[in-house]
């Protein structure tokens, strides 16, 4: 595999003085689905905007299929389709016209067959003659996707594609993403949700406060994420963990009302049945059990602590 996007030492400081990106290095392979994961304000949109030419970088260099995005912007940009985070459309134009406009703008000659197929795939066919202003929010988002795909890009950026989107559109969108991937299109998407990355992406990059703190195969990340937590609500408050349970990595929380046990869900033996038997033997009764997945925030904390 060869990298289709290579970002080296890219930094961005906005005119306000806000540092949005600290030295980002990243390569994305041809044909993969790459998810950029991170909390609000992490710099996901900034990074995408730089690669697509909407924001100028403060320093660094980006190559798209070997083309420098500044010097050879034509070749670089012709390969890229972008669905931005926010809907931005000429509301007076018709659906069909605005999608055709995008294709032309990207230097492609008219291809009515392709546009018609796109409109059908995105369930916009019935609305093709309607003006954008007459469409619902979800429909407008579909139009944004149609515009981004109008010039048959080799690379597609989806900035938070599922924010405020209903189940149907989400399913349609993932359907389209899979079909595009099967045709060799590289897809880069951003999301706040680990589940989404898990569902779709080949690799995941985690970005936090302008730093790319981890890039990993989704499967490997999921193993890390496989850590789960068992919370045991005890019947009677306990002052300290009894010596009989000293062999277990337990923590006492909520003023002695909760015992917490972290375990690896992917391990052949989670230890839970033995732990529960030992609890009974030690005379600790419990009224409730709860397991939860370590949250994205926990991972961030873990990663940041791990780096420190």
């Amino acid at each position: 595999m060869s990298p289709v996007i290579s970002v080296s030492a890219v930094t961005k400081t906005y005119r306000s003085g806000q540092i949005a990106l600290h030295e980002i290095d990243l390569t994305v392979e041809k044909g993969e689905i790459f998810a950029l994961l991170g909390p609000n304000g992490a710099g996901k949109t900034t990074l995408i905007s730089i690669i697509c030419g909407l924001v100028s970088m403060s320093s660094g260099r980006v190559l798209v299929d070997g083309h420098d995005i500044v010097q050879e912007y034509r070749a670089a940009r012709a390969m890229i389709g972008l669905v931005p985070q926010e809907i931005a459309l000429d509301i007076f134009a018709t659906v069909e016209d605005t999608v055709r406009f995008s294709r032309g703008l990207f230097g492609r000659h008219a291809a009515p067959g392709h546009i018609d197929r796109l409109l059908r795939d995105l369930s916009l066919w019935e609305k093709r003659r309607a003006r954008v202003i007459e469409l619902s929010g979800g429909m407008k988002r579909r139009v944004m996707i149609a515009k981004a795909l109008s010039h048959e890009p080799d690379i597609l950026f989806l900035d938070e594609p599922t924010a405020g989107v209903d189940v149907n559109l989400r399913r349609d969108m993932w359907g389209i993403v899979r079909r595009l991937r099967d045709r060799g299109v590289t897809i880069i998407l951003t999301t706040h949700y680990i589940e989404e990355a898990e569902e779709m992406a080949d690799r995941v990059g985690v970005i936090d406060r302008g730093r790319l703190i981890l890039v990993e195969e989704t499967a490997a990340l999921m193993r890390k994420l496989g850590k789960r937590r068992l919370s045991i609500m005890v019947q009677k408050r306990i002052e300290a963990i009894p010596p009989a349970l000293a062999g277990w990595p337990l923590r006492l929380e909520a003023e002695g009302e909760r015992l917490v046990y972290d375990f690896d869900a992917n391990a052949p033996d989670t230890g839970i049945p033995r732990l529960l038997r030992d609890l009974g033997a030690a005379g600790i009764d419990y009224k409730d059990l709860e397991t939860s997945r370590t949250s994205l925030e926990d991972i961030f904390v873990g990663l940041v602590e791990g780096r420190a």
Partner: protein, 256 residues
């Protein structure tokens, strides 16, 4: 991909012209009605009491000035809205992410704005012939002035649209700068009719040169030499182009 992005330029031009068709009433009816009003007031009511100016009846005398006035205001407003609106609605992201050079984009936008201005200019000319006898002594010069002015003020409007960060700012240049300059620019009189020092002061007003040159192409008389007028229009165009070049080079107000 290399070479010109012709489909891109064509897409912009066509979309801009479609916008004109959607708003055909504002675009065409307004200038026509305004012109008719000018003729009724200046040509009819006042003009009948005015002597000839430079051997031309007053009604006919104001025709070139009126066309210039419309060309200026229309050129500026069309081009400034064409670029300001995408900034306002954020649809400009698409233009910035497209494989199209700034020069190509400006060419397409200004081409559309100028086409519209020229069309309106011709409509006014046609309307005027219904009221007064109009003759054109130097049609080649007339077309040259028409095109150059439409393009120059399209460029000027484009600059205003890029600079503006609110609708107020968008409106302020046309109303605070351009309207006074056009009214004081000899559209309705010859600056020879002014007493000193106003005559000399008027020579600092670029619009005087535009109107004078354009009027010369109609009736062979102008306040200043036609070559001076031509140099002025070209000068304005070059100035606007230089400013635009600087803007695109620095990303000023277009890219964060």
């Amino acid at each position: 991909m290399s070479g010109l992005n012709l489909p891109g330029m064509w897409a912009i031009y066509r979309t801009e012209m479609a916008r004109t068709r959607r708003t055909v009433w504002q675009s065409v009816a307004t200038p026509v009605i305004t012109t008719v009003l000018y003729f009724i007031v200046f040509g009819g009511a006042i003009g009948s009491r005015m002597q000839q100016v430079g051997g031309v009846g007053y009604g006919a005398f104001i025709v070139p000035g009126l066309i210039m006035l419309t060309l200026l205001t229309q050129g500026i407003s069309n081009a400034s809205v064409a670029i300001y609106f995408p900034k306002f609605t954020r649809t400009i992201f698409e233009l910035l992410s497209a494989p199209i050079s700034s020069t190509e984009a400006v060419f397409a936008y200004i081409g559309a704005a100028a086409t519209k201005s020229v069309l309106i200019g011709l409509i006014i000319l046609a309307t005027a012939t219904l009221f007064v006898p109009v003759r054109i002594m130097h049609p080649g010069w007339m077309v040259a002035f028409l095109l150059l002015t439409a393009v120059s003020f399209g460029l000027f409007g484009f600059l205003v649209g890029i600079w503006a960060e609110s609708f107020e700012q968008l409106a302020i240049i046309p109303s605070l700068v351009v309207t006074p300059l056009t009214f004081l620019g000899g559209a309705f009189y010859s600056i020879d009719m002014l007493p000193e020092p106003w005559r000399t002061i008027s020579l600092f007003n670029p619009v005087v040169y535009l109107v004078s040159g354009f009027r010369w192409s109609f009736y062979g008389v102008g306040d200043v030499g036609v070559r001076v007028s031509l140099a002025f229009v070209v000068g304005i165009m070059v100035l606007c182009l230089a400013l635009l070049w600087w803007i695109f080079r620095t990303g000023y107000r277009l890219k964060p």
